[in-house]
Symmetry: C2
Subunit: 364 residues, 2 copies
């Protein structure tokens, strides 16, 4: 039995590696032979809008999933008419539109920062008047890793923001000063079983996730995050892994965004949890019982961005787990990650901090 | 950079899955497209004696390793002239011949049971006279999982044993009543770094490994096993993972055999140790620093033989890790294994025992 994956990036690659021990085959659909996914499983090479390839993928796979949430709606529609797809299309459609996402959070009673849709300069001026400055103008679609965002601090920024982003549907978001970011990774199986991982604390740099620590022990926040996660999973009759990112502000959560897929802040689960998010996504979409999401020790996951440290030097680090995605280096590109599992949270943080410092200074 | 693997069985498959995160590609050489290895990496299809294929493998790979120790010497010779191979040929040659293996143990001062080479009925009669009955007549080559063995209990068995096995080089081994079997998995890197896993206790049934428990806490036995392992690794300037099986008799070790490869009794290290035997074999043959071999919790590894239990039922078991090799069922065939990691050795054993009972009774 074969699982199809739209997008053969590192997420798809790690899905296949986690799914092989369950005796499944994998088939990617993505651009060309150099992808991280294609290095570990066969691929159909082409665009997500190629009807012939989509039909071939559908005919060869019992279920099709995604390693990228911005798959075009028409591709999803074509696939859904021919095979089962998971996560559900409605969840992808919502996650593809930041305004729809915020509207959903509000509808489900999940606290989120205030937002207005912006389709004209006049809209933006109105939104700034209502929600005040500072604020963030964002594209509604295709934003990730901090791309497609403009921070407005003073009235003079309005015009520049509009000139920069104004050729796409936008939203204006109230600026919320936050203390830190956390994320919750949940999974729901085809049969309706739900499981959630411990809470992650995330640190970004230049808009890209740099460090995740888990489990982040904050029982009240975790309980709230679990409630919110359950609502979204249930709302969509969701199938597979879902991630929700929250800001923590004055001790409470504000939902920032969701990702209908395995998530970078869940990579630590490969070694740091009994069952990884990747295996649980595969289990979930196949209708198999979900695996135990309990943490094993205290993990710190560091993204390796732009340049791979010397591999031998990195592997000298005790109990460090390297995941090199086999990508060619480029500024700002996620090339791999490594996870340190320790006996205490303090020790994991201390080692991660030292490691990041050594990487940043070029000593590693 | 590509690692070549002769033999695309489950061991090769797990080597590739463990090596992908180190950004290596893998290329198998084995019979046909249905192998466990080929499901996860490309293969050259053919025999180990096909000179053209061996040359292609050598030209495409920076190093070639094995998932089977009975690779013909000529194949090794051809490869060694064209690329690097690991583990070393001398170790494979010794492991391919049970008599040479015992002779090596004796030479290195590693206790082993007494043995005589047998090439004729007269040899066998002499050996029985010297080493007494009971004893075991074994083929010197190509024995595994209890195959190629004949137990002699009384003088009348001599003729039958000779008729059964007499068309191959043999050895006669003193029968040693033993209490149980343990194994030691060690690894030596290209640079000479040595690491060893905790001791495994193994239970066989019908000559096939059924259950491994690790770490088996027997400090004196473990210390002796480590000494013996170090001697063999050093003797060969060994590179990669090596396994040695020992009988435990009256509180001391008797070396039974060695396997110059990753070993079934080390499968628990995937989830039960910080770094798996598979990753450490890949690290070792690539000259990378070896990973931490410390155990995480207490593991019990159960081989799934002849018939796969119902997958969904099996995955319902808490903190059970399934490895289905994707093979078609056949009596006596290793189709997969599962590992349970628990907080105590007693609990791991208890759960494994219950699971084996349910599998054997067909309830799972």
């Amino acid at each position: 039995m074969t699982v199809g994956i739209l997008g053969a990036g590192q997420l798809g690659r790690m899905l296949a590696l986690a799914g092989y021990p369950l005796a499944r085959d994998f088939l990617f659909l993505d651009g060309g032979p150099g992808t991280p996914g294609h290095q570990v499983a066969p691929s159909l090479f082409g665009g997500f809008t190629d009807a012939k390839l989509l039909d071939e993928l559908a005919s060869r796979c019992e279920v099709v999933t995604f390693d990228w949430e911005n798959v075009p709606a028409e591709a999803l529609e074509r696939l859904a008419a021919r095979t089962r797809i998971a996560p559900p299309r409605a969840a992808l459609a919502t996650a593809q539109d930041r305004f729809a996402e915020k509207a959903l959070f509000a509808k489900l009673g999940i606290p989120t920062n205030r937002t207005q849709a912006v389709d004209s300069l006049a809209d933006l001026q109105r939104a700034v008047k209502t929600l005040r400055l500072p604020g963030v103008l964002k594209t509604r679609r295709l934003g990730y890793d901090g791309k497609g965002q403009f921070v407005l601090r003073q009235p003079a920024d309005i015009d520049l923001a509009w000139q920069t982003l104004g050729n796409a549907p936008l939203l204006y978001e109230q600026w919320v000063p936050f203390d830190y970011e956390v994320s919750m990774i949940g999974v729901r199986s085809l049969g309706g079983q739900i499981a959630m991982y411990p809470l992650n604390r995330n640190l970004h740099r230049d808009g890209i996730l740099r460090l995740t620590r888990a489990p982040w022990k904050a029982p009240q926040l975790e309980a709230a995050a679990r409630r919110h996660m359950r609502r979204v999973l249930t709302h969509f009759n969701y199938v597979g892994v879902l991630a929700i990112e929250f800001f923590v502000t004055r001790g409470r959560l504000l939902a920032n965004e969701m990702a209908p897929r395995v998530h970078n802040s869940g990579h630590w689960t490969i070694e740091g949890a009994v069952t990884s998010q990747f295996e649980n996504h595969v289990r979930g979409i196949l209708g198999l019982p979900l695996g135990d999401t309990t943490a094993r020790g205290h993990s710190a996951m560091i993204n390796l961005i732009g340049r791979m440290p010397d591999q031998a030097a990195l592997l000298k680090e005790k109990s460090l787990h390297l995941h090199d995605y086999g990508k060619s280096p480029r500024a700002g590109r996620k090339l791999g990650h490594c996870t340190i599992v320790e006996t205490t949270a303090a020790r994991a943080l201390q080692r991660a901090t030292t490691l990041i410092r050594r990487i940043d200074s070029g000593k590693l």
